[in-house]
């Protein structure tokens, strides 16, 4: 199914925004301007965007510790995200959450999650709400290869099948959980077969190819929206940065990273595909690159200028009402 020029431009714009966002926070972190732990999504942009381009604002997603890309793809305010990561009061979460806990319920983003396997049961709950309220929305649970081994993920899959809930389990297999290879940690090295064992259709696709991701996601979203129950999509992806910023990636083989960055860059692949097929001009994409770069730079500037939260903020937002 052919995407319109507008759709293609928007998809590229979102992927580029993620890439630029991550490269920028990486530099700012190295410069000592960002506190805490940072897990960057660069390299996996096609996964988040290819899925979320199929979702409406009423649909919801749940994410992981590596959540920036999912947030941007689902439409979180990028400036608010940047302020959050800088720990500012003007951040999307008032500076209380940080990189690992960015959420925006208003756009259907249920939150990044610091607990591996924390999100699948929550996405199942969102799908349960959709089924109960019959509002036609679907939920997407993003996980990694590592978190696909967590018991909570398996329980979420079984419950989703039992209750036939409109939820899609996306497993972005970027080959590693921290420094441990997926081929070691997943007994079968085949998360799709494992998901299928729980009784849902499961497909494995090339997560560096936006178009393959988009298609598989479209089918899964239609399947779920039609009330035909959960589905699983395993997206084979690559991670350009370390597990967290500061990780020297000693577990990478000789030249492994260069090869990934040269041959498995979903942005390069997208650009080549659309320009060769004459769907878009290089100039269109260059224009997006430029204006995304300016936008992200502006976000950093405003974040640095923004105020930190203060004593008055410490004990608010724990309860709606306590005493």
């Amino acid at each position: 199914m052919q995407l319109s020029r507008e759709q293609l431009l928007q998809a590229y714009q979102r992927m580029r925004t993620i890439r630029d966002f991550e490269e920028t926070v990486s530099e700012e972190f190295a410069g000592g301007n960002i506190p805490g732990f940072l897990h960057l999504y660069a390299g996996q942009e096609a996964c988040a965007v290819g899925m979320c381009e199929n979702l409406t604002p009423e649909d919801v997603i749940g994410s992981t510790h590596r959540g920036h890309g999912h947030c941007i793809a689902k439409g979180c305010d990028v400036e608010g995200m940047m302020h959050e990561i800088f720990g500012r009061r003007s951040g999307l979460c008032g500076g209380k959450g940080g990189s690992m806990h960015i959420a925006d319920l208003d756009v259907g983003m249920l939150g990044a999650n610091g607990i591996v396997g924390g999100n699948p049961p929550l996405a199942v709950g969102a799908a349960l709400a959709a089924k109960t309220k019959k509002d036609g929305s679907v939920a997407v649970s993003f996980s990694g290869d590592g978190s696909s081994n967590q018991g909570t993920t398996f329980e979420a899959m079984n419950l989703a099948v039992v209750l036939q809930l409109p939820v899609i389990f996306v497993i972005e297999n970027n080959g590693f959980g921290e420094g441990t290879a997926a081929s070691y940690a997943i007994g079968t090295n085949d998360p799709a077969a494992r998901a299928a064992g729980f009784g849902m259709p499961a497909v494995t696709i090339d997560g560096t190819d936006f178009f393959k991701v988009y298609e598989a996601s479209r089918e899964a979203v239609e399947h779920a929206r039609a009330g035909r129950g959960p589905m699983a999509i395993i997206m084979e992806a690559v991670r350009f940065y370390g597990h967290f910023e500061g990780d020297p990636q000693l577990y990478r083989g000789e030249g492994e990273l260069d090869d990934l960055r040269t041959n498995k860059d979903c942005l390069k692949i997208f650009r080549q595909r659309v320009t060769e097929a004459k769907l878009l001009e290089h100039a269109d994409l260059d224009a997006i690159d430029k204006n995304v770069a300016e936008r992200i730079a502006a976000c950093v500037e405003s974040a640095k200028a923004a105020a930190f939260p203060s004593e008055a903020d410490l004990e608010t937002d724990v309860y709606v009402k306590y005493l």
């Binding site: 959450g97 806990h101 924390g118 996405a123 349960l128 709400a129 909570t152 079984n158 419950l159 306590y322």
Partner: protein, 335 residues
Amino acid sequence: MPKQTVREAINQALRQEMGRDENVIVIGEDVSGGAGSDGQRDAYGGVYGVTKGLFGLYGEERVIDTPITESAIMGAAAGAALRGLRPVAELMFVDFLGVCFDQIYNQAAKFRYMFGGKATTPMVIRSMIGAGVSAAAQHSQTLYPMFTMVPGLKVVLPSNAYDAKGLLIQAIRDNDPVIFLEHKLVYDTAMDVPDEAYTIPFGEAAIPREGDDVTIVAFSHMVNHAITVADKLKGEGISVEVVDPRTTSPLDEDTILESVENTGRLVVVDESPPRCNMATDIAALVSSQAFDSLEAAIELVTCAHTPVPFSPALEQLYLPTPEKIEAAVRKTLKG
């Protein structure tokens, strides 16, 4: 006013709230029972029959039986709450928190703060606590200190039928995650309970017995032991005030402090092992904020520092009893 047991009062609260608000759902293991069987649906209504009849009224879309999968149950309730439902999730025995605690204490409890006040998670977790029926080490714990210490959670401990109904309706209408803990030994205790719906605000202690000589602060079923002791000692002219905080988070600190300022003596009764529990919590409150009123050492009546033993002979030695509470009261009066 009709008499109701705690079991009936909780069941009525659930019926009434589900009738009032279609966003209220009940989810858990065998909350109806019989799913997929050739026999009756609603075969259980919860292992102690507390949710019996809800299935017939509200059906499988709102009374949801699940596999044995507590992490998914709690997570599903939390996720659904973020999306506008008001789930009442059942954790059959509180002892099972170990297989699903993350979804409660790291997820539901922390959403609102981590997300800068943007999330609302109106969910209730009903669970069963307490020893006294020889259910042994993994089916007899209270564990409310583990919930009480978690910022973001509210913790409710009804000791009688009237409170159980009003506090549960409040819990369901409350917009924060609430842990509602039902003691096995109070289910069959009965008292006058209005048929209409009513709420009891959190953080407001009850004072089932007023007195001037000694304050006993007790929780859940221990309140009933405290009342027994107060009534007995009254005969001897010892005037014991019994304070039932009803919720440990929020805690009605003022009522406790005022009572101790008046009596000058404090006994705390907590059906938990002795360390880092509600007995220590209340002792710390009073010794830091009402120290000058204290006329004697604080007495703590708790369980032993052991798992809950199976044999009835040991279980009674393990538990706080009216005898142990009475001895503590007499001790503090000497001190």
